[in-house]
């Protein structure tokens, strides 16, 4: 096992012999060439770890040879030591500017050259270690990226398919996670009593952890809906479940609602979430007067003994509701202003009748308002029409 491969390039046979002798004795494999051109031919067959090259040589001089070696991706990592006479025209700085890794001036002692070679190989070993670690990191990153994109696809699968319909509600959504994967979730499903159950929630934080908790929130919600009851009971149970099963800083803001189509009434609980916009007869399009549903309450998951309150509002045929997470309205622009609820009310005062076009209109208008910054948090928007 050799300590490495050294290519000695010099037109003087004595120098090749002396360097070759010392290098072999020290345990290196030695390749010899008389000039740059010959050296390039040798390198086609065997790639050296280190090149010791004279500067002045016929056919292809050391500076040009160095430029060629350092110019090719496959050879540029070879450690290049330029050997030259100290005569001003070939200053050390000049040589290093050519891309050489080090310089030796003639005349030299063989021991000096050997010391340089030994230190060069220490550097080569370090470089190889860094390259190896880099490769490992790149592979790790690729794996993580692949896993994340798989998780993001799975999360998309947790959202209702759109356009959707449940007991007197027609809905669609726009979902824009900040990091490919996010902490927003919503769910609309038929309730046991023939009504519709609605949830939109935003888990604190971003990324994988928030996404995992958001999946739990959805599961807790749907389990509660299948047990019957209404938003108040759901909120208390979900708060308890979330408090017990998450870490101390993980919470969810949520809006939970139940629609009774017979009485055209929506019962709801606001749990720290932005209350939805209510647009009377909004599903018919045109100029309307939207308002924010009143209500406030604790986030889910803080303390299992906290109380929640239920409220109700009419939700008649032709009415529209806009559910959203705060990422939609809380982007700070360069002038430090936010769209806020007032801004969103303005945006929603005239929407297309078609829910898909209405959703696109809201996202596009808000995006333009925030320009050049689009959204920095997860954004979920649900347009829900009473039909």
């Amino acid at each position: 096992m050799t300590k490495g491969v050294v290519l000695v390039v010099d037109d003087e046979v004595q120098i090749r012999d002396i360097l070759g002798f010392y290098l072999k004795r020290a345990g290196y494999q030695v390749l010899l060439a008389e000039n740059g051109r010959q050296a390039l031919e040798v390198m086609v067959k065997v790639q050296p770890d280190l090149i010791l090259s004279d500067l002045r040589m016929p056919e292809l001089a050391g500076d040009e040879f160095c430029r060629i070696v350092k110019g090719k991706p496959e050879t540029r990592d070879i450690y290049f030591v330029l050997v030259s006479a100290m005569d001003g025209s070939s200053s050390k700085i000049g040589g290093l500017n050519l891309g050489a890794d080090d310089m030796i001036t003639k005349p030299f002692h063989a021991q000096e050259v050997m010391a340089k070679v030994e230190s060069a190989f220490r550097i080569i070993a370090m470089q190889n270690e860094i390259k190896r670690q880099n490769l490992e990191l790149t592979r790790f990153q690729d794996r993580m990226t692949a896993e994340l994109s798989l998780a993001a696809r799975l999360q998309m699968g947790l959202l209702p398919s759109i356009p959707g319909q449940a007991a007197g509600i027609r809905y669609t959504h726009r979902y824009l996670p900040a990091e490919g994967i996010g902490g927003d979730i919503y769910s609309i499903l038929p309730a046991l009593d023939g009504g519709a159950a609605v949830l939109i929630a935003d888990v604190s934080g971003h990324g994988v952890t928030a996404a995992l908790v958001s999946a739990m929130v959805k599961t807790f919600f749907e389990a509660q809906v299948r047990l019957g009851g209404g938003p108040l009971a759901w909120a208390h149970a979900m708060n308890r479940d979330l408090t017990r099963s998450t870490l101390s800083e993980q919470f969810a803001t949520a809006f939970l609602a139940h629609l009774d189509p017979a009485t055209a009434t929506l019962h709801y609980v606001v749990a720290g979430h932005d209350a939805p916009l209510y647009i009377a007869q909004g599903a018919r399009g045109g100029l309307r007067r939207p308002g924010l549903l009143p209500g406030k309450g604790f986030m889910l998951g803080i303390d299992e003994n906290l109380p929640f309150t239920e409220q109700s509002c009419p939700f008649e045929l032709g009415d529209r509701m806009i559910l959203f997470t705060d990422g939609l309205v809380e982007v700070e622009r360069e002038d430090r202003t936010l769209l806020g609820h007032d801004g969103l009310l303005r945006v929603c005062s005239e929407l297309p009748q078609d829910a898909e076009r209405a959703a696109d209109h809201i996202v596009e208008t808000v995006r333009q308002f925030n320009d050049p910054m689009a959204f920095e948090d997860d954004v979920t928007l649900v347009v829900m029409d009473r039909t």
Partner: protein, 112 residues
């Protein structure tokens, strides 16, 4: 940028926060609060939010966790100096009724 300062006032610790409290800075803030609580075991922890212009849900989460950890040591957490924007967030999430909130640091320290 977030600026955090801590000081002791007798048995009380005061943490003063300035800037935007969001997901990116909660780790830094969490360390400071934890160090303060474990080092000084304060009877009263005052968090002054006067210079905070924005707080998101992770920031709120951190404050709730701070209250829980102070509770465990039989201490109290008082918040003070909530700017209007932050006050709005607290109102919306009902946290105004969860925390003891004071107008000024003096009030918070007196517990009045």
């Amino acid at each position: 940028m977030l600026n955090i300062q801590t000081r002791q006032e007798g048995n009380s610790s005061v943490v003063t926060i300035q800037g935007k409290v969001n997901f990116e800075v909660t780790a830094q803030l969490r360390d400071v609060i934890r160090d303060t609580v474990t080092t000084h075991l304060p009877k009263l922890l005052v968090i002054n939010l006067e210079g905070v212009n924005f707080i998101d849900s992770s920031g709120l989460g951190l404050l709730v966790a701070a209250r829980n950890s102070v509770d465990k040591n039989n201490g109290k957490l008082h918040l003070c100096g909530l700017p209007p924007q932050v006050k709005k967030t607290f109102d919306q999430t009902n946290l105004t009724n969860y925390f003891s909130i004071f107008a000024t640091e003096q009030d918070a320290l007196r517990g009045a």
